[in-house]
């Protein structure tokens, strides 16, 4: 009998990490709360600029800021929940003991979890990015309404949900995870269609009608979310979900008001996360673009902070006894 070749020992750690990551991502995506939070984020990103359009003259900025703010706000909730619940639940139900009884090191397991949470957040960001781009078009400019955008944006959401329902009916695949995939497709398709038309629905050279410069700012927010998710994962090694969320909330607020709260403690101030560096909306004002230097510096900051958080998480996890 032919025995299938096992992955070579050099590749095995990667296969193990990917297996754990896939498991984590699938488990999180299957849960309706992930879809609910993502849908609410999309709804807020699209609706808020319309609802408060008359408040200020700067509709473009308003749509941009609210898109980034909602992407961050709901992303924080998703990152906190996904990281907190997945590891904690596995510890509490004893699933983790079974998994760790296999020949997988704790470091690799933890790495797999980080990658899994990263994958979940990546999917969320893939939904938030086209939603943010659509919001720029949906938002009325000088009291002029973009009728095509106002038709396409809600249609994209409805189509995604209908597609997921059909998928669930035919293939019995989980509605929640299918809806997320469909949202990525339909919202992106919406952006690609609108890229060919101006605000008054006349054809323009392809791509001109979309503010692509928002994407780098959205990606920086995605980096902040990954940091936050990794932080929650490290907390979840020792704390229950409620405590993880409370701890993460404190950390989050600390990061928002680092200078104000920790101004007199330089050591603490240096170690606390600076969420402000990920918020680069101001650079986009008056038609500006994010410079490559800023993106590079912020990303380097994120990478180092992420490495630190993963290291702390691994140390905690290595010493964690399975109840």
């Amino acid at each position: 009998m032919e025995v299938p070749a096992s992955p070579s020992s050099a590749l095995r750690p990667f296969v193990q990490i990917l297996t754990i990551a896939r498991l984590t991502a699938l488990e999180t995506l299957r849960h309706p709360i992930f879809l609910l939070l993502s849908l609410t984020a999309v709804a807020c990103i699209l609706v808020v600029p319309i609802a408060i359009a008359h408040e200020l003259g700067e509709q473009g900025r308003l749509a941009r800021d609210s898109a980034l703010a909602f992407q961050f706000g709901f992303g924080v909730l998703i990152a906190g929940y996904a990281a907190g619940s997945s590891l904690r639940r596995e510890i509490e139900t004893g699933i983790l003991s079974t998994l760790l009884s296999k020949n997988i090191g704790r470091e690799l397991f933890y790495g797999g979890k980080v990658v899994g949470i990263g994958a979940v957040l990546a999917l969320y960001v893939l939904v938030a990015i086209p939603a943010g781009l659509l919001a720029q078009r949906v938002s009325p400019l000088n009291y002029e309404v973009d009728t095509l955008a106002l038709l396409i944006a809600p249609a994209a959401v409805v189509l995604a949900l209908a597609g997921a329902a059909l998928d669930n009916f035919i293939s019995r695949r989980s509605f929640a995870s299918s809806a997320m995939i469909h949202l990525v497709i339909t919202l992106s398709a919406g952006v690609l269609i609108l890229a060919a038309f101006s605000r008054d629905s006349t054809p323009v050279p392809y791509g001109q009608a979309i503010e692509w410069r928002l994407i780098p700012a959205q990606l920086l927010i995605a980096e902040a979310l990954l940091l936050f998710g990794t932080l929650c994962l490290a907390l979840a090694v020792r704390l229950k979900t409620a405590a993880v969320l409370a701890g993460a909330a404190i950390f989050f607020l600390l990061g928002l008001a680092t200078d104000y709260l920790l101004g007199t403690f330089p050591l603490l101030r240096g170690w606390a996360p600076h969420w402000q560096v990920f918020w680069q909306s101001d650079a986009l004002a008056a038609g500006g673009h994010l410079s490559g230097d800023v993106i590079e510096q912020v990303s380097l900051y994120a990478i180092f902070y992420l490495a630190g958080l993963i290291a702390v998480g691994i140390v905690l996890f290595r010493h964690q006894e399975m109840e």
């Binding site: 849960h31 309706p32 709360i33 609910l36 939070l37 609410t40 319309i50 609802a51 408060i52 359009a53 008359h54 929940y81 619940s85 009325p140 009291y143 309404v145 009728t147 106002l150 704390l239 229950k240 409620a242 405590a243 409370a246």
Partner: protein
């Protein structure tokens, strides 16, 4: 009843056992110790009262709202997932008893937190008020007021006339119904023009006073604010006349006031003998330089009836807040009957956030998504406006009565919270909305099958 109490105690134990109560206690301690230290106010007693109550009590109630939402969702959803509820349901206990037991347990726990934190805050407030300049000043600094609004002027005929004029000028379509927001716009314009006082002109507001107002124990104060037609901040000479419809001679007060500032005038007791409205007339004597004064309708003039039972007023405020927490517990429990824990929490927090958006929803519902330009031209969202407005109006019709019970703001503004307000809060939050959520929760519990194989 014994079964309900047993379930209430069980819920209490369950919540106490979870970390959430520990975290809540810790956060409340932090709020109570840090906020009063950092929030100083403007140095006056009313300023201190406003900032301390609005921020600290606001933070306490926000924390308690989150906590009650969390524990309520867990009280059913978590127990159903962990199957403890299955065993309870095999005993002779009705779904109603389960729901009520859990609800009462949650209210008992959070009310204990609310009243303890509230009491501590009250004593912090008492101990940290700035010293009054005189005993009489202390009397009015540390008091609360019943805010009386003038009766709305009848403007029906003026409005009809104005709308007809707008139709003839082509500002409005010559036929067909006029949108409500356009009517509102013109109504406000007329009311604003009525209360616009050119030099040497006057305007009278009429106040219907409740029987307990204007007694020696509760003397009246006039609170007003106006805008002026001149940018320079010149003092404006005003004459105020207070006259009841009976034959009591008018009480006249001369005052020089600045625009854009809140002014308060203490009035002598006995201005109003008890029947008919009290007319308050303002005459503008700003002739040099000539200045026109604008009193914004509904916002610029109030009579305040003074009361001194602050402790009781504060207690009534806490009772209203307790009703609000009871409402959140009902929402959380019913959400827990319908969904699993995180989804239930999402649903509950959604309702909580919706409530906090009440003012914006009201604005949109009343004035539309887009406004009227300065030329009186309507700018709307065409076909999309109708559904957006319909959603906002539906939400507003539910939220508006609840929204008017902004008790933290009232306490901060030293406004009187009457027993009628407490009754209204309990009727609305507990009897009406609590009842609706109870029925929904019971229907969900009855329909729900427990012990299904997982993932079905």
């Amino acid at each position: 009843m014994k079964k309900i109490v047993a379930l209430a105690v069980l819920t209490l134990r369950s919540a106490l056992n979870s970390r959430i109560v520990l975290i809540l206690g810790l956060l409340l301690t932090l709020v109570l110790s840090l906020f009063p230290l950092h929030l100083q106010g403007d140095g006056t007693a009313p300023g201190r009262i406003r900032i301390l109550l609005e921020y600290t009590l606001g933070a306490i109630v926000t924390l308690l709202s989150f906590s009650i939402a969390w524990t309520a969702c867990n009280a059913v959803a978590r127990e159903a997932a962990d199957r403890q509820l299955q065993l309870v349901l095999t005993k002779p206990v009705t779904r109603l008893q389960i729901w009520l037991g859990k609800w009462l347990g949650l209210i008992a726990l959070h009310s204990a937190f609310l009243f303890t934190a509230g009491l501590i805050l009250y004593f912090i407030l008492l101990g940290s008020l700035p010293k009054a300049t005189s005993p009489s000043a202390k009397d009015w600094e540390w008091a609360h007021y019943q805010v009386l609004n003038p009766t709305t002027e009848s403007i029906a005929s003026a409005l009809d006339h104005r709308l007809e004029e707008a139709r003839q000028k082509g500002q409005l379509p010559s036929k067909g119904p006029i949108p409500q927001r356009t009517v509102n716009y013109y109504s406000l314009e007329i009311r604003r023009s009525l209360a616009t006082l050119a030099p040497t002109t006057h305007f009278a507001w009429s106040f219907e006073l409740p029987p307990e107002a204007d007694k020696p124990a509760a003397p009246l104060r006039l609170r007003y604010q106006f805008s002026a037609s001149r940018w320079e901040r010149n003092p404006v000479p005003l004459v105020w006349r207070f006259q009841s419809s009976t034959n009591v001679p008018a009480f006249v007060l001369h005052q020089t006031a600045y625009a854009e500032q809140i002014w308060e005038l203490p009035l002598p007791p006995g201005l109003h003998p008890g029947t008919g409205p009290l007319l308050v007339t303002c005459e503008n004597f700003a002739t040099n330089p000539p200045t026109t004064l604008i009193f914004e309708p509904d916002q610029s003039i109030h009579l305040l009836a003074t009361h001194h039972d602050n402790g009781l007023n504060y207690f009534r405020g806490l009772l209203v807040l307790m009703a609000r927490l009871a409402f959140f517990a009902a929402v959380g429990l019913t959400a827990g009957c319908l969904f699993s824990t995180p989804t239930a929490l999402f649903f509950t927090l959604f309702i909580l956030i919706l409530l906090s958006l009440g003012t914006s929803i009201r604005e949109v519902a009343e004035s539309g998504v887009f406004t009227i330009s300065h030329e009186g031209e309507e700018i709307g969202a065409g076909a999309f406006e109708t559904p957006i407005l319909a959603v906002h109006r539906a939400a507003n019709s539910i939220l508006d009565p609840i929204q008017s019970l902004d008790v933290i703001h009232q306490l901060g503004g030293q406004e009187r919270i009457s027993w009628a307000d407490v009754g209204r809060a309990w009727r609305l939050y507990v009897a009406l909305w609590g009842g609706i959520f109870l029925l929904a929760g019971l229907a969900a519990l009855r329909r729900r099958e427990f012990g299904k194989p997982e993932n079905l």
